[in-house]
């Protein structure tokens, strides 16, 4: 018996020493993040940095300052976890950070006002949308260099890749079409018109000529078979079959849908309709609206967790909650008064939401089961968005 205890003690000591040694070794190599899935990335618009918060301890691991007046917009980790990238909207540059060491390894000039971005599934290509430049900057993540600028878009907001990485779909907020890019050639090959502008448009120049609220994103369904693109001005969602790149169905939703968000179970999707302060819940099987429910003003995002949908109403200080089984409202969570909520990400277990709140420079953690909240303050100035590797709700404004 004594022998056994001795063996266990010795083995334990060796393991502990090995772990401590490994930790010391990593630290010596300047490793700050050993596991890229262990952190929440926070993009701080006004302190011009990307901050990293440990998910378990809720402590800040570090931050990477990008430069004054860079004003980063969206942050994303490459699917292989090697790099973290962001577009500096007011610097017209893309910033590439090494995830392990949190070193800024490359700054690459893009086109005007880079905002939203996406990686190809194999982590090779980083497509950076430049809404004011009407272009996409293609960055090769092997050479860490810009290899091409794809022109011809109209305020490209979001990029989505097909699961096989063959094509990328670009939502044009300044038009009513989705751009299809051949990823092998990095060329815009098709423009898919989401819907006709109604005939009465000519009587309403204020609405149709004044400003376009076009397509924010072409969002793939969880099974990857279809893409869904909401058009704000037209108030419809177009269902795209990517095999033929054709719209196969139109779904009329509420007024001025901001974009579409996919539920994680593949049953429903939601459009927050800022024009009439409602949400439309779309049944993805029948491609029809299953319910239109009251929501709040200035909605900036929808997250799914614990069988619920959490809809962020930016200026009201509330997150609206909906039961996705009964499709009924399930109350609201008050985040504060006179505050501005930004966007949120959901952890990979679908248990917690990490919501950026810019007025008080904090991230609010929402427990999806209990609707309880916890605040992590002073994460940086004007936290604008959050991101977790492999989260199903990684999005931006």
């Amino acid at each position: 018996m004594l022998n056994r205890y001795l063996r266990i003690t010795v083995a334990g000591t060796i393991v502990a020493a090995a772990c401590a040694g490994a930790a010391v070794s990593l630290e010596a190599q300047g490793v700050k993040i050993a596991d890229p899935t262990s952190v929440v990335m926070i993009v701080n618009r006004d302190s011009n940095d990307i901050a990293f918060m440990d998910i378990k301890t809720k402590k800040m691991v570090g931050s990477v300052f990008l430069g004054n007046n860079v004003n980063p917009h969206m942050v994303m980790m490459s699917p292989d976890g090697r790099y973290v990238v962001t577009g500096g909207t007011r610097a017209n540059k893309a910033y590439i950070i090494d995830t392990k060491t949190l070193q800024l390894v490359k700054v690459i000039p893009t086109d005007i006002a880079p905002e939203h971005l996406a990686f190809s599934p194999d982590s090779r290509w980083y497509y950076q949308g430049n809404p004011d430049g009407d272009s996409i900057s293609v960055i090769d993540m092997q050479s860490l260099s810009k290899i091409k600028t794809i022109p011809g878009f109209a305020e490209p907001l979001n990029v989505t890749f097909l699961p096989d990485g063959s094509k990328a779909y670009i939502g044009n907020y300044g038009a009513h079409w989705v751009g299809v890019v051949d990823v092998r050639r990095h060329e815009l090959i098709k423009k898919i018109q989401i819907a006709d502008v109604p005939g009465v448009a000519k009587l309403d120049p204020d609405k149709y000529l004044g400003e376009i609220h076009g397509i924010n994103i072409a969002m793939p369904s969880p099974d990857g078979k279809y893409l869904y693109a909401a058009d704000g001005t037209l108030g419809i969602v177009g269902v795209i079959d990517p095999r033929e790149d054709k719209v196969i169905k139109h779904i009329r939703v509420g007024k001025d849908p901001w974009r579409i968000y996919m539920g994680h179970d593949g049953k429903y999707a939601i459009t927050p309709n800022n024009g009439d302060e409602t949400i439309s819940i779309i049944d993805l099987k029948s491609n029809s609206v299953a319910a239109t429910l009251e929501a709040g003003p200035n909605m900036t995002g929808v997250n799914f967790a614990a069988g619920k949908a959490f809809v962020i109403s930016s200026t009201s200080g509330f997150v609206y909650v909906y039961d996705m089984n009964s499709l009924k409202p399930a109350g609201r969570i008050k985040m504060g008064t006179n505050i501005q909520l930004e966007t949120a990400t959901t952890d990979t277990k679908d248990e917690k939401l990490y919501l950026a709140e810019s007025t008080n420079h904090e991230v609010i953690i929402i427990d999806a089961k209990t609707n309880g909240i916890e605040r992590v303050r002073n994460v940086g100035l004007f936290p604008w968005g959050t991101h977790i590797m492999d989260s199903k709700d990684n999005y931006c404004h």
């Binding site: 618009r45 006004d46 302190s47 011009n48 004054n68 007046n69 004003n71 007011r90 109604p198 005939g199 009465v200 009587l203 309403d204 204020d206 609405k207 037209l234 108030g235 419809i236 779904i251 009329r252 029809s288 609206v289 299953a290 319910a291 239109t292 429910l293 009251e294 009201s316 509330f318 609206y320 009964s326 499709l327 009924k328 409202p329 399930a330 109350g331 609201r332 008050k334 008064t337 006179n338 007025t359 008080n360 100035l381 004007f382």
Partner: protein, 546 residues
């Protein structure tokens, strides 16, 4: 010269003396202005000459040699002759960069060639590999210098331009103040939590349009917002049954609603609605039991401005409880059926806008509270002056309570179901009661059903009313935002008066602010102790709302 008088002579004498004194300085001055100005440096010239030879030492003919003044960038070109000689006969004095180029590539470059006044400088040029390398290096250095200079200028621009200045804003923060008055960011023993305001500075570059938008948005928050809802409803009346007059008639009613809204405190709003009606609806001549034109409901006067509503609304308990108080139309807050509740965009007949058993004839002072848990349940209670005559609210008190629930039953889209109860003590020594049900249920995104039922107490028993119909949107329509519907209403009063009404409408959205709708209403009424009569009312409503 003869002096005209001593006085004049004296004057001439003084003038002559003055001239003598002033003249030398004037001449000196004139000499100064006439003296040639110091010569411009460009007027001091010197010559530069030399020969251009290739690597083998042979002369290079017909090659341009360029001399660029390093101070002002002035450029001079001379071409070599057959012997490779070149000459700049009169270059303004200064330092020059002398270069030659071939096929766009600089083959020789020498900086700092000094041209002295009236001097003759010599520069022989050898076009060999060494000179080409020196030239390339010189070009590179110059380019790097230019880039550095441009970067510096951009940095200067970024740091000094208005839109790149650090932005300052004031933030509300919670701090902890200990008994000694020291302020802490985190709680410390004995410290009290206090709220204070803090100015913070951030580096956010904004575009001009962002700045303007932010300023406009900020200004709009402090303004009173005015809304207008103007409509012209033209209806024709054709008798279909009975002998009542008129037989045929045309009626037009113009309505202008002005809404004023202002945010006056946190979650608190002021609202006023002033309405002006002009013209006459069919109801002015045809005595149907319910109003054929719902625009005139609960309005006492026409052809004058009426204050329909003026109230304050505040939201408390995390915005779940809304309290509205002032002059109200209480029926606006109750039985708000989604498909049959608005005479300006849906049915025009009052029987398909309001539950006739709500029994409120006029607007008045009152309050409405609404508790919305945001789970689908809503509880409402309100009271209002039901008659303008009594001075005491206790003599004319109308109360209304409602419970509503929104959900998605039987895999259908959402529907709202509600039940209400009301009391009214405006008649002496009696409290009249009424009760009603109402629902609106979407069958699909395009089709919705609605129905209402209500009854009220009278001396003779219970009056009853019901209505039902179907409404279409997003389907079976001409334009995406059009709506249409068909509804039926039945009223049965204990006095023997009865009414059956049917209406269909199509509402065409011309623009966001302009709508045109077509209505066809049919009604058969049985008046108390009289003969049945029937009418049809085709009509057009033109509405602008902005």
């Amino acid at each position: 010269m003869t002096c005209w008088s001593a006085r004049i002579c004296t004057r001439w004498r003084r003038l002559a003396i003055a001239l003598v004194i002033v003249a030398p300085s004037a001449i000196a001055s004139a000499q100064q202005t006439q003296a040639p100005a110091p010569m411009n440096m460009a007027d001091h010239r010197g010559a530069l000459l030399g020969r251009v030879r290739n690597a083998q030492g042979a002369p290079v003919a017909d090659t341009p040699v360029t001399a660029v003044n390093e101070e002002n960038g002035a450029q001079f070109v001379s071409t070599t002759d057959a012997q490779g000689a070149y000459e700049f006969g009169a270059l303004p004095m200064g330092k020059y960069t002398v270069s030659t180029a071939s096929a766009g590539l600089v083959t020789f470059r020498r900086r700092g060639v000094d041209i002295a006044m009236d001097g003759k400088a010599t520069l022989d040029i050898a076009l060999d590999a060494k000179s080409a390398a020196e030239a390339a290096e010189g070009e590179r250095q110059e380019l790097l210098q230019k880039i550095a200079s441009l970067e510096q200028r951009i940095t200067d621009l970024e740091t000094t331009a208005v839109l790149s200045e650090p932005e300052t804003r004031v933030r509300r923060v919670e701090v902890y103040v200990d008994p000694t008055g020291q302020q802490h960011d985190e709680p410390v023993p004995g410290a009290k939590k206090e709220v204070t305001y803090l100015r913070e500075r951030t580096y956010r570059r904004q575009t001009i349009s962002e700045k303007i938008d932010a300023a406009l948005e900020d200004a709009a928050k402090h303004q009173v917002t005015v809304g207008v809802d103007a409509a012209m409803a033209t209806q024709f009346a054709a008798r279909t049954r009975g002998e009542t007059d008129p037989n045929n008639g045309a009626y037009a009613l113009a309505s202008a609603d002005l809404f004023f809204t202002a945010g006056i405190a946190q979650n608190t709003l002021f609202f006023a609605d002033i309405v002006g009606l002009s013209g006459a609806p069919p109801d002015s001549e045809i005595g149907t039991l319910t109003l054929i034109n719902g625009y005139t409901a609960r309005l006492v006067e026409q052809n004058s401005l009426n204050l329909r509503e003026a109230w304050l609304r505040t939201e408390v308990f995390k915005n779940r409880l809304a309290i509205t108080a002032g002059r109200l139309d209480l029926t606006n807050y109750f039985d708000a059926n989604a498909f049959a509740n608005d005479e300006s965009t849906q049915f025009i007949s009052d029987a398909l806008v309001n539950n006739q058993m709500l029994g409120l004839a006029v607007n008045g002072v009152g309050a409405a509270t609404e508790f919305d848990a945001k789970h689908g349940f809503r509880l409402k209670f309100g009271f209002q002056q039901s008659s303008p005559e009594p001075t005491s609210l206790g003599d004319s008190l109308f109360t209304l309570s409602e419970v509503g629930y929104t959900f998605t039953p039987f895999a259908l889209p959402e529907g709202t179901y509600r039940v209400w109860f009301r009391t009214d003590n405006s008649e002496p020594d009696v409290i009249r009661k009424g009760v009603g049900l109402s629902f609106d249920q979407k069958l699909s995104p395009a089709v919705g059903l609605f129905a209402r039922y209500g009854q009220q107490e009278t001396d003779l028993g219970h009056d009853r009313f019901y209505s039902a119909g179907v409404s279409f949107q997003h389907g079976f329509i001409l334009n995406p935002e059009d709506t249409w519907g068909v509804g039926y209403a039945n009223m049965n009063l204990k006095t023997g008066e009865k009414e059956n009404l049917i209406e269909g409408y199509y509402n065409l959205l011309l623009t966001e602010k302009l709508r045109l709708s077509f209505h066809l209403t049919g009604v058969i009424d049985t008046p108390e102790g009289g003969d049945k009569f029937g009418y049809i009312f085709p009509g057009i409503r033109f509405q602008a709302a902005f």
